[in-house]
């Protein structure tokens, strides 16, 4: 394992009866990366996290996380990883402090370090004033923050976050995103983020893996994926009213232009290969079209995701 690679999965597969949850997953994650698992519900994100932490055994394939085999070295591995589960999974009858102290002890923090660490987390997550209140009275956002604090209590090297902003209001969601970014950028922790929030993934993730029915459909940096999978751009041309008819006929006659739309003086060419853009501009100008503006719209991760899933 290269020094900066902290996770390697090779041909990982797992089925539950007839249902294939993960099917031949192969990927590598580097230290300090924010890596996104994208996919619908049931795409295999949560099962992948469970396999990578050794709480499920793979039917096939090999995994190494932090140089350890999750199947045979689960306890050692889980001491170095932290997991934010999809539901906060907190003891609601206990207080916030009691929840954190319990997990601090469970993860083997030294007794003299436990209180200090727990108090620091309560401060960081803005829960200090409610530290001695029972969790059952907390809002969803507070529970999510506490669950995140719990996942960090033992200062894990890799943090797995399953839908960390699900159900949070925009302010709380942004706070969580900032924290995740800080964990990676400032503390060099690796973050594996499972989400179906594509804007969140595009904002946060260094690289993403798009999963569909347990299979890896695409893997790479969001921008690279956009280039690789979203070669067909949408191009908006703003032309003078007098030459709009000419422009339309030039464009219609151009091979490779799949779809045209004209609205409010702007002609949109859909599905154009980015390599054809200079030729298109040259053809329009050469034909005498007065061109005011050309605006390419890069495909977003959302476009890629929908394209990979065969959706409009």
């Amino acid at each position: 394992m290269a020094d900066d690679v902290v996770l390697i999965a090779q041909g990982l597969a797992r089925a539950f009866g007839e249902v294939v949850a993960v099917d031949g997953l192969s990927l590598q994650v580097r230290r300090g990366e924010i890596f996104g698992f994208l996919g619908h519900n049931g795409a295999g994100k949560t099962t992948s996290v469970r396999l990578l932490n050794g709480v499920l055994r793979p039917d096939q394939g090999h995994v190494q996380v932090l140089g350890l085999d999750p199947t045979s070295q689960g306890p050692e591995l889980r001491r170095r990883t932290g997991v934010l589960t999809e539901t906060p999974a907190l003891e609601e009858r206990l207080t916030a402090r009691e929840n954190l102290l319990f997990y601090a002890e469970l993860y083997g923090l030294a007794p003299e370090r436990m209180t200090e660490r727990v108090e620091a987390l309560l401060e960081i997550f803005n829960l200090a004033s409610r530290a001695d209140d029972r969790v059952s009275g907390f809002s969803k956002g507070m529970k999510q923050r506490l669950a995140l604090a719990r996942a960090l209590v033992h200062e894990p090297e890799i943090l797995f976050l399953d839908e960390p902003t699900s159900g949070l209001d925009p302010v709380a969601a942004r706070a969580v995103r900032r924290l995740v970014a800080r964990l990676s950028r400032e503390e060099d922790r690796t973050v594996i983020l499972c989400t179906h929030n594509l804007i969140e993934a595009q904002t946060l993730c260094d690289r993403v893996a798009v999963l569909k029915a347990g299979r890896l459909m695409a893997l790479g940096r969001p921008a690279d994926l956009a280039r690789r999978w979203g070669r067909n751009l949408r191009l908006d041309f703003e032309v003078s009213g007098a030459t709009r008819g000419l422009a339309l006929s030039v464009l219609r006659a151009t091979p490779g232009v799949a779809e045209l739309a004209s609205e409010d003086g702007v002609i949109s060419v859909l599905g154009i290969d980015r390599e054809r853009v200079p030729d298109l501009v040259e053809a329009l100008v050469g034909a005498g079209v007065r061109l005011y503006r050309v605006s390419p719209r890069e495909p977003t991760l959302e476009d890629i995701y929908f394209a990979l899933h065969g959706l409009d």
Binding site: G74, E76, T85, T87, E91, L94, E98, Y103, E105, L106
Partner: protein
């Protein structure tokens, strides 16, 4: 074995347990009825009957239907004393066993099925504890309070029995050797029985209530002991109690072995969803 992690789980489970009135109220009320109110009544009624000059002669007729051994053990007592000893030493003995059984079942249902129901199990399964540590800690979380309640209950029962029966007995007569064996040999095994059965049931159900209600079935063998003794089929003596304890420990071992086999991260995680 990571004893510190196990201790943390036991402590957490007990704290969580203590915060639930649905769990703690029966754990306090039922032992008080069985181990304080019932023995007090059983001891006071014969004294009241003696003072009122009521008929106690029927006790001899009833005793004639009892096993010879029991008749021999009661031979040195007068009629009022016979009733007290019969009730407090023999008839309430199997009732005492219901306490560790019930406490272990309630706490185990809360600890195993309740953890699933509260959706806190998943976070626990992601912790570095091994399956064995987790299982043993969970078993201890239920067994220790069951034993604490049973032993405190035994002390209370002893005090109530001696105090309430003093006017009739005129001396400290409790506990007998059989009762000591019951409290220190059979009660821990009975707690294990309730625990083992509930662990198995909890693996198949989703809620505390389901686990607790299905677990209540294990009280039937104890009730059969109550009926068996009341009808003269058998009576609680030291030999029977020691043999009963031995059988229960063997059943416990089997149940906990089976429970341990079901307590697999894979299985549990699959049920978390």
């Amino acid at each position: 074995m990571n004893l510190r992690a196990m201790r943390a789980i036991v402590r957490k489970d007990l704290k969580v347990l203590w915060q639930s009135k649905a769990v703690t109220v029966p754990l306090i009320v039922v032992p008080l009825i069985f181990l304080v109110v019932l023995p007090a009544l059983a001891a006071l009624l014969p004294s009241a009957a003696v003072q009122a000059g009521g008929p106690l002669a029927q006790i001899d007729r009833y005793l004639q239907q009892m096993p010879q051994g029991l008749q021999a053990e009661l031979a040195g007592y007068d009629q009022a004393q016979k009733i007290v000893v019969l009730a407090l030493v023999y008839f309430l003995a199997p009732m005492y066993l219901i306490i560790p059984l019930m406490v272990a079942s309630v706490v185990a249902a809360d600890s195993f099925a309740g953890e699933k129901e509260r959706k806190t199990l998943e976070a626990l399964l992601y912790s570095p504890t091994t399956e064995r540590e987790l299982f043993v800690a969970k078993v201890l979380s239920a067994w220790l309070p069951a034993m604490a309640v049973a032993l405190i209950g035994f002390l209370l029962y002893s005090m109530v029995a001696n105090l309430a029966a003093w006017p009739v007995m005129g001396r400290l007569f409790f506990p007998s050797g059989m009762w000591l064996a019951l409290a220190f040999w059979v009660a821990p095994a009975v707690a294990g029985l309730g625990l083992g059965a509930t662990v198995l049931i909890s693996a198949r159900v989703e809620t505390f209530q389901e686990a607790y209600q299905l677990g209540a079935v294990v009280v039937l063998p104890i009730l059969s002991l109550v009926i068996g003794q009341a009808t003269g089929v058998m009576y609680f003596n030291l030999v029977l109690v020691m043999a009963l304890g031995l059988s229960l420990w063997a059943i416990d071992a089997l149940l906990l072995w089976l429970g341990g086999r079901l307590f697999r991260r894979e299985e549990l995680m699959a049920r978390v969803g």
